[in-house]
């Protein structure tokens, strides 16, 4: 086995009396799409928030590329190569699609204490931004104001912004949330095209999508891992069926 890109050890997070993350251990192989599934309230988004630096864990360690990043801020982690998307669309509504992505490109192109040249003519930003839009299928709508894009397009834009930072690790928090079948399929295709090159941690409720994409699946319940393995291992796991799948067991 190669060295894992991301390693999480004994991660804990409490909100008052609620344990959102409970001694979580996780290991991500480079190039893999690693899906994390679990019922609502299993602490998936809390986990992403801690991995991306938006939330400080109470205890535990996060190692990225062998480096302890537990105490690093969001921007610092972004510069190390961790990008995330948000479950609830988080974009710049007043900007165009292209401007949204160009800003993500800009964040990784040296500092931004540049006061004079207009970004509108900055091909160093626009070209990679357009490429990222093309990649997610938004290439034809670069100048549309983000607030007027559809929900599905917002989700695509989220991914484009994350990809534009050229991450080593992409954290996707329910990229298909609230999408129709056709739109879901499009996202699955986009992620498939990244498979093998891009390490992805995917949180998703859509089981078809998870099984179509994931190399490895981890099942999270009440903030801790109850099972981890390949698709077949998870399908066959009795604990998973009992604890998580319940009436969704039919999907297996």
């Amino acid at each position: 086995m190669p060295k894992p890109l991301l390693e999480v050890r004994n991660l804990c997070k409490n909100f008052g009396g609620v344990t959102a993350t409970d001694n979580l251990d996780l290991s991500l192989q480079p190039g893999f799409i690693h899906a994390v599934i679990g019922p609502n309230g299993a602490g998936k988004t809390t986990m992403i928030a801690q991995l991306s630096g938006a939330l400080k864990p109470d205890s535990g360690k996060i190692l990225f590329d062998g480096q302890d990043i537990t105490s690093l801020s969001s921007p610092a982690r972004s510069h190390l190569g961790i990008a995330r998307t948000f479950q609830i669309t988080s974009i710049f509504h007043e900007f165009t699609a292209l401007e949204n992505v160009a800003l993500a490109v800009q964040a990784h192109d040296s500092h931004s204490f540049r006061f004079w040249r207009p970004v509108k003519k900055d091909e160093k930003l626009r070209t990679p931004a357009q490429a990222a839009l093309d990649l997610v299928g938004l290439g034809g709508r670069p100048n549309v104001l983000a607030s007027t894009l559809s929900h599905g397009e917002h989700r695509q834009l989220e991914i484009a912004m994350a990809l534009a930072t050229k991450p080593k690790l992409l954290l996707l928090d329910e990229p298909m949330a609230g999408m129709g079948a056709e739109e879901t399929l499009r996202i699955v295709e986009i992620l498939k095209s990244l498979k093998g090159e891009q390490t992805i941690l995917l949180i998703e409720h859509d089981m078809d999508a998870v099984f179509a994409l994931a190399d490895e699946i981890t099942v999270l319940v009440y903030g801790s891992v109850i099972a981890s393995g390949t698709e077949d291992e998870i399908r066959g796991n009795q604990a998973v069926k009992l604890a998580y799948l319940g009436d969704e067991g039919a999907a297996f």
Binding site: H79, F95, E99, F113, V144
Partner: protein, 318 residues
Amino acid sequence: MWLSRENIIGLAIFALLAVVPAIAAVTEIPFYLDLGRRMMILAIGALSLNLIMGYGGMISFGHAVYIGIGAYVVGICAEHELVSGFIQWPLALLVCAVVAFIFGAISLRTRGVYFIMITLALAQMTYFLGVSLDRYGGDDGLPLAEPSAFADLIDLSEKTSLYYLIFVLLLFCLWISRRLIHSRFGMVIQGARSNEERMGAIGFPTFRYKLTAFVIAGVMAGLAGVLLANHTDFVNPDMMHWTRSGDLIIMVLLGGMGNLIGPILGALVFILLEEFLSGITEYWQLIFGPFLILVVLFARGGFLGFLDKKKPTEDGDA
């Protein structure tokens, strides 16, 4: 788009301002000149506040403090017979930069209503410092013995010269602001207003950029203060009173936040209304208040937003 409504209104404003001295001369009402200068000085102040408030989402309730400090530096220098503008002006802007840096570093640790309250508190603190400066007139203020001297370059005691200097400086500030907001730096500031969490996730440590914007706005307001001292030949703590900061916010809201011409238009309208209404009644704010409420309720984008109903186009020109 070059001939957007914003630009047309901007051109109209500057064309009008350019001929004010001529109008004052023809009508023999020098008061117009005085009014025009005051408008433009406050327009610089409103423009600078709009940089952080309209574009950066930082609602500073203490922005007049930089106008006051700029004015005081000129006043105190003059009091010590240091009248050269070449020294006074850069010194004033430098002091404003330092104060804005310190105040910004403190207040930008907070958000929302706390930010508003802290900027207000810091500004009031400075106001009372001004009041306590007995050596420099304290509460009564400090008359300016003579205006800033620029060798033979320009004579600021000549009021038309001063007028055109302010005119040019307002245009200069507008130009600077325009470059600024369309630059990489400007995008970061606007992104931080729009979605700070996302900015962090894509890799921007926003604090340093917001602080820089805060300092730039402070320096620009300081310039307005320097001009104000030369305009009124007088400096007093009242220039930094919190109600003056409130006036600046009102100007920005009146004209329209988040575009460049709005605050200038707002400052013009504010001063005009103040003049006009206070001529009618001593309690002019009784009329001005409801008027302001109407503008805020029915013209969310201020005057410019009201006049310019056009939504951003496919070109993304907002």
